[in-house]
Symmetry: D3
Subunit: 283 residues, 6 copies
C-alpha cells in the first residue's frame, strides 16, 4: 500500500514521461480586495476527482491519453512577494530545462510574473496572451511595484512593446488604459477578436495567462474581484480551441478563490477550463 496521492484528475503521469508539468502557486499576498486564491490548486485537485470527467466532448479528446504530471504546490513564505516569485521562476526554469511545458495554477495573478521571467529567458521573442477583466497595467499600486494590479506592467518591463495582447478587459483606472494604448494591444469587454492576436503571434512562442475573472460573475463568482459584464463559459472554450495550433510554451489560470465559491460551481468551472486548456495545447 502507498501513501495517499492527490493529483488533478488524469494528471498522474510520472515526471520523466510527462510533456506538461502542472504545479500550484498558492499565493495571494497582494490581493487588493478579497484574498483566498491560495486555496485554489488543492480545491481544484480535490473537486476534479469526483466532479470532472477526463473526456472532453468539445474536443473529443481524453486526459487519460495525454501525459501530464501534477507535482503539487510550491511552498511559499507569507508576506514576501519577491521571494515567492523567485521560487516560481526557479521551478519554471527546471521544468523548461527538462524539456517540458509548465502549466501553473494560481494563486493570484502576480504569480504569472514568476513563470514568465523564466520563459522570457529562454524565448527572446516571448508573446503574451492575457485574458482578464482587469488591465493590471498600473505602474504601482498603493506604492508597491509588485501587485496583482501591476503584473502586466511588470511583464511589459520584460517583454516590451507589442508583445502583450489583452482580451476581456472591463475595469481599470483611466490612466492605465491610456498608457496601454501605446504599449500593448487591448481588446475591451470580450474575446471576439482573438484572431488578431493569433495572426500577430503566429509561429511565435506564446505564454497564455487566464485570469478567470474574465468570465462573467454569473458563471464564475468565486474570485477575489468579480466584475459584472464578462464573457460566457462557451466564449472562453471557443477562444481556447482557436489557439490549439499556436505555439504555447507555458500557461496559467489564476484567481479562483474557493472560499467565495459557495456553490462549488466556480471550482468546477476552473477544472473544466484547465482540462480544455491541457487538451487543446497537447501536441
Amino acid at each position: 500500500m502507498n501513501k495517499n496521492e492527490l493529483t488533478f484528475i488524469g494528471c498522474d503521469c510520472e515526471y520523466q514521461d510527462a510533456e506538461f508539468v502542472l504545479f500550484g502557486a498558492p499565493f495571494d499576498g497582494t490581493a487588493s480586495f478579497r484574498p483566498g486564491a491560495r486555496f485554489a490548486p488543492q480545491a481544484m485537485r480535490l473537486n476534479s476527482r469526483d466532479g470532472l470527467e477526463t473526456y472532453s466532448p468539445y474536443q473529443d479528446k481524453d486526459l487519460a491519453d495525454i501525459r501530464v504530471c501534477d507535482i503539487g504546490d510550491l511552498q511559499f513564505a507569507f508576506g514576501n512577494p519577491a521571494a515567492v516569485l523567485d521560487i516560481i521562476t526557479q521551478t519554471t526554469k527546471t521544468i523548461v530545462a527538462d524539456g517540458k511545458i509548465p502549466v501553473m495554477i494560481g494563486g493570484e495573478h502576480l504569480v504569472s510574473l514568476g513563470a514568465i521571467r523564466a520563459l522570457a529567458e529562454k524565448y527572446s521573442d516571448l508573446h503574451i496572451i492575457h485574458l482578464d477583466a482587469h488591465a493590471d497595467l498600473r505602474n504601482e499600486y498603493l506604492g508597491e511595484k509588485l501587485s496583482h494590479a501591476t503584473v502586466m506592467r511588470r511583464i511589459w518591463d520584460i517583454v516590451g512593446d507589442g508583445k502583450i495582447f489583452q482580451y476581456g478587459i472591463r475595469s481599470g483606472e483611466k490612466a492605465e488604459l491610456v498608457w496601454g494604448k501605446s504599449h500593448i494591444y487591448t481588446h475591451m469587454f470580450d474575446c471576439n477578436d482573438i484572431e488578431t492576436a493569433l495572426k500577430k503571434t503566429a509561429g511565435k512562442p506564446i505564454y497564455l495567462s487566464i485570469d478567470l475573472d474574465v468570465l462573467d460573475p454569473s458563471v464564475f463568482s468565486g474570485t477575489g474581484t468579480p466584475e459584472a459584464g464578462g464573457i460566457q463559459f462557451s466564449d472562453l472554450i471557443i477562444t481556447l480551441l482557436k489557439m490549439s495550433n499556436s505555439v504555447i510554451v507555458g500557461a496559467d489560470i489564476n484567481e479562483l478563490c474557493p472560499h467565495y465559491d459557495r456553490s462549488g460551481v466556480s471550482t468546477l468551472v476552473a477544472c473544466k477550463v484547465l482540462r480544455e486548456l491541457l487538451l487543446a495545447f497537447f501536441p
Copy 2:
C-alpha cells in the same frame, strides 16, 4: 381547524378530482458527487408558497385553473435503491390505474426508472424525452447497475432502441457516448433541435424526464453535479412550450439539491419549471 397542509402552490385539488398527481421521491442514495437531492420536494413546496405566482405570463395560464393533487413524499428506506424503485413503481401504477398522470419530483435521477417501469407496462411504445447534462448511459458505475449514472441505460433495457431522445448532453465517458450512437438519439450541448424528437414521437406516449442540471450552473447551481456550458432558463421554457401538443403520459424533474442552493435561486427556478411543465401539459 385543520392540521397543517403543505402542497406545491396551486396543487391542492382533491385526489379524486385531479388530472395530474404530483409526488416527491426523496432519494439520493447513488449520488456520485454531492448528495442532498432528497431535500428537493419539500423545499420546492415550501418556497413555492411565497416565491412563486400561480399565473404564468409565458402561457397566460394559471395553476389555479387546472387540477393537480400533491400527495406528498413517498417514504423510503436508506441504502437500498432496489426497494426505493419498487415503491415508486407501485405508486405510479396506482396513479395510472386511477386514470391520472403522474408527475414526480426527485430526488436523484435514478428515480425516473421507477416511474418509467410502471408506465412502460401500460404503454408498450413508450418514448422518452430526456433533458440532461449527463448521458447516464453507463452499464455499470463502480460495479453497480442501479445508479444515477446508469439510469438511461436501465431505461433502455426496458424500452429498447430508438425510443430515447436526449438533449443538452455535455458530459460523459467516451465509451457511453459511443454506445449511445447505436441505440438512442443524442443531441449534444443544447435543446435547439427538439423538433426532431417531437416529429419522431408525434402521437406516441411520451415520458419527459428533466434532470435540472441541463441548465447552466449560472442559472441553476444547486445540484449535485453542476456542468458548465448548459442551456439558459428561456431555452428550457421554450422547449417545454414546444411540447405542449405532445402526448405526455408522465414526467419528472430531478436533481435539485437545496443544500447547495445558497442563494435560494435554484429552488425557485425548479418551482417555475414545474409550474410551466404542469401548465404546458394540462389538456
Copy 3:
C-alpha cells in the same frame, strides 16, 4: 484627524457643491418573501470602496469628475410604512428645494413612493420609467394598501394614466396585468423596446426606478424575490446609456438584499449599476 467617513466611492462632494444627492432608505418592512433590503445601502458603500473603480470604460467618464454628496441613511422606525414614507418625502423635498437631484438606494421598492410624492409635487407632468421583474400593480396585498407589491399602483394614484412605463416584467397576478393594460405601458420580459418610452417622455421630467430583480438571478441572486428569466447586465447598462439624454429629475435602485448575496457579486453589480446611472445622468 477626523472621524471615520463612509460614502459610496467617489461621492464625497460637500453637500452645498453637489448636483446629485445620494441617500439610503433602509426599509424592508413590507417585503413579502425574504426581507433584508435594509442592509443594502451600507453594504454598497462598503463594497464600493475596494470592489469598484470610479472610472467607467462603458462611458469613458469618472465619478471623480462629477459632484455627488452621499448623505448616508435616513433613520426609520420599524413596522410603520406610512411614517417611513413621510421621512423619505420630506428628505426628497429638501434636496429638490436645494436645487439638487435626489438618488435613493433602497431598501424595498415601496420607498420609491416616498420620493415620487415629493417630485410629483414639483413636476406636475412627472413620468415614471420602471424596470422590474414584478408589475407591483396590485391595489392591495393581503389587505394592505402600502406594500412593495402595490407600489406602482400607489404611484399611479398620484401620476395617473399614461405616465408609467414598465419594462422587464415577468411575474404577477393575472388581474394586475389586465388592469395595467388600461392604465400604464407594460413591456414584458425585457427592455428591448425602451425607445418607445423614451420617445413618449422626451423633454418631460422622468423619475427612474430600478428594481434590481429586473436582472436575471444568474446575474443578481441577492434579492428578496428572484425571478428566473430576466435581463442580462449588459441589457441594463445599454438601457441606462440610452437614457443619458433624458430629463432625469430623480432615481432610485432598490431590492438588493445583501444577506442573500452569498458570493458578494450582487452587491458589486448594484454598485456598478449605480456608478453607470450617476455617470449617465450627470449633465
Copy 4:
C-alpha cells in the same frame, strides 16, 4: 391518497381531540436588526421530521403519547403589526374557548402580545415568565409603541406590576432596566434563580414566553439579535423541567431566524426545546 401534510413531528392529533394546539405566527415586521423569523415555524416543522426523535431521554416521555394538533401558520399581512396582533389574539381566544392550551411558534417576540391579550382576558391574574437576552421594556422604539423591543412593556400595560418575571437578561438600555426594577422582577444573565419565580407564581396561571436568544449564540446563532454571554442548552432544559408542576395556560417560543442558521443547528435546537416544553407541560 391524501394531500401532503406537514405538522411538527408527533403533533398530528385531530383538533377536537387535542389538549395542546400548536400554531405558527410568521411575523417579523418590527425586527430591529436582522429580520427573517417569519420562516421559523415551517423550518421547524420540516426539520423536526428527520432531525428530531419524538422520545425525550430527559423526561422519559414521548410526543407520540400526548395529544397536540398543529394547525399550521396564521396568515398575516406585511407591514401592519396591529392587524397581525389582532389575528393572533382572535386565534388564541378560539383555542382557549375550545378548552385547549395554545402554544405558539414565532415569528419575532412581538407576537407574544397577541396571545397574552387573549389569555389575560380569561385569567385575570395571569403571570408571565419570560426568558430572554433582552429586557424588551422600552416604552417606544424609534417612535413606535409596538415593537419586539417594547413587547414586555406592552404586556405590562395589561398585567401590571409584579406579574412579570424575566430571566437571562443581558442587554438593554440603562433606562429600561432602571424602570424594570420598580415594576417587574428581573434576574440578569442566567436562569439559576427560577425557583423565585416559581414560588411567587405557584398555583397561578402562567404564560411562558421563550425568546430563544436567551441561549448563548454558540448554542443558538440563528436569531436576529444574538447576544454573547447567554445560557447553555442544558440550563434551558433544566429550567423547563423545573416548571413541569406549574399551571401553564399558554406558551410560545420565538426569534428563531432560519436564514441565519447556516449549519441548521439552531433550528434543531428550537425543535428540541419545543419537544421538551410540550412534554414538560402536558398534564
Copy 5:
C-alpha cells in the same frame, strides 16, 4: 520531482515502517438526515496541513515522532452498503495481518461495522467503546438491517452481550434504549463515567468508535444529525487521555460532514481529535 501527495499532517511514514495505518472510508449511503460524510477524510487531510500543528500541548507529544502511514481513501460503489462493508473488512484484515493498527476516518457510522468484523475475527474477546449522541441500537431502520442507525446492533450481533460500552447517548427511540439495558452498557449524556468501562475492559483488546456528534453542536456543527446537549471538546480530550493505557487494537472517528461545516471549525476539531487519538494510543 514527484507527484502531489496529500496525507494527514505528520502521517507520511512508509507503510512497511508504520505502526498505525490511517485510511478513509468515504461512505454516507445510509445517512438518514443530511448526507455528506463521504467528504470528511479528504477535507481533514487538506485542512490538517495548514490548520493543525503536529505538536500536542495536551500530551507533550508530536505526530512527527510516531509512525503513521495514511494510505488514502478506499474506493466504494454508491448505493450498496454490503459491498462497501466488504471492502472495509478486507482492508482492515490486511492491515491487521501486517501487524499494524488500523485507524479509520468515516464516512458515516456504519463503516465501523466493516472494521470491527475484521478485528473480531482476530480478537475473540474484542470490546467496544462507543462515544456517540445516538444509541444506534435499532434492529432495523425503515426496513433495512444495515444503517448508521443500526450499526451498534449489528456489532452486538458479532460481539454479544457485555462487550459494548456507550457514552454520551442523548437521542433514540424508547424501544432501542430499553433493549440496550439488557445487552450493553449505556451511560447517558456524557463521558464522566468512562472509568467504569476502562475497569471492565482492562487488559482486553478494545476498538474505539467515536461518532463525532457526541460533541455538542456548538463545538461541532458539521455533522449529519446534530443533537443539542452534548459534551465539550475538553471532555472528549480528557476521555481519550484516560484511555492511553488501554489496549487499543483499532479505532475510528466518523460523521464529520464538511459541507455543513460553514465556518470550517468542525473539520479542524475533527483533525485535533484525530491527532490526540493517535498520540494517546501510540505505544
Copy 6:
C-alpha cells in the same frame, strides 16, 4: 446635511476632546491559514450600529458617557508588511503625543508590533499582556521574520525578558514553547491565573493585545486559525474587568475574519469585547 459617517457605536467624540482614539489596521498579509482579517474594522463598525447597545450591564457603564474618537482605517499597501508596520507606528506616535490612548482594531496579529514599537519608545518599562490561542514566538516562519506567527518574538526583541505575559495558549511548535519558558511568562489553556500577571505589572504601563482566537471556536468561529479548547466569553469579560485598575497605555483586538463569520455572531462578539474593553479602561 453632512456626508455619511461610520464610527463604532458611541465612539463619535471629536478628536481633540477624546481620551481614547480608535483606529482600524486592516492588514492580513502574513495570515498563514485563512486571510480576511482586513475586513474586521469596518464590519465591526457596521454591525455595532444595530447589533450592540452602548450600555454594559456587566459594568453598569455606557459608551455614551466616555470620550472615544474613531478615526477610521489606516490606508495600507498590500504585500509589504514592513511598510504597514511603519504606518501603524507613526499613527500611534501621533496619538500618544496628543496625550490620548490608542486602541487598535486589527487586522491580523502582526499589527500589534507597529503599535508597541511606538509605545515602547515612550514607556521604557512597557509590559505586555497577551491573550491568544497561539504562542506566536517563532523566530521565523517559513523564512520570514515578520509574521503573525512571530509577532510576540519580535515584541520580545523590543521589550526583553520578563515583560510579556501570555494567557490561553493552546497551540504551537514544541520549540517555541520551550524557548518561551526562559523568556516570558506563559499560562496555558485559560486565563484563570491572570492575577499573577496583574501583580507583577502593578503600577507599570501595560499594552493589552487580544487575539480573539483565545476564545473557543464555539463562541468565535470567524477567525483565521480557530483552535478548539479555548476560553468562554464570560472568561474573557471577567479577565477584562480584573484589569480595570491597571495602567493601560494601549490595546488592540485582532484576528476577527468576518468572511468566515457566517452567522454574524463572531463580529458581534468582537464588538461586545471592544465595548467592555473601552469601558473597563476608561478612567
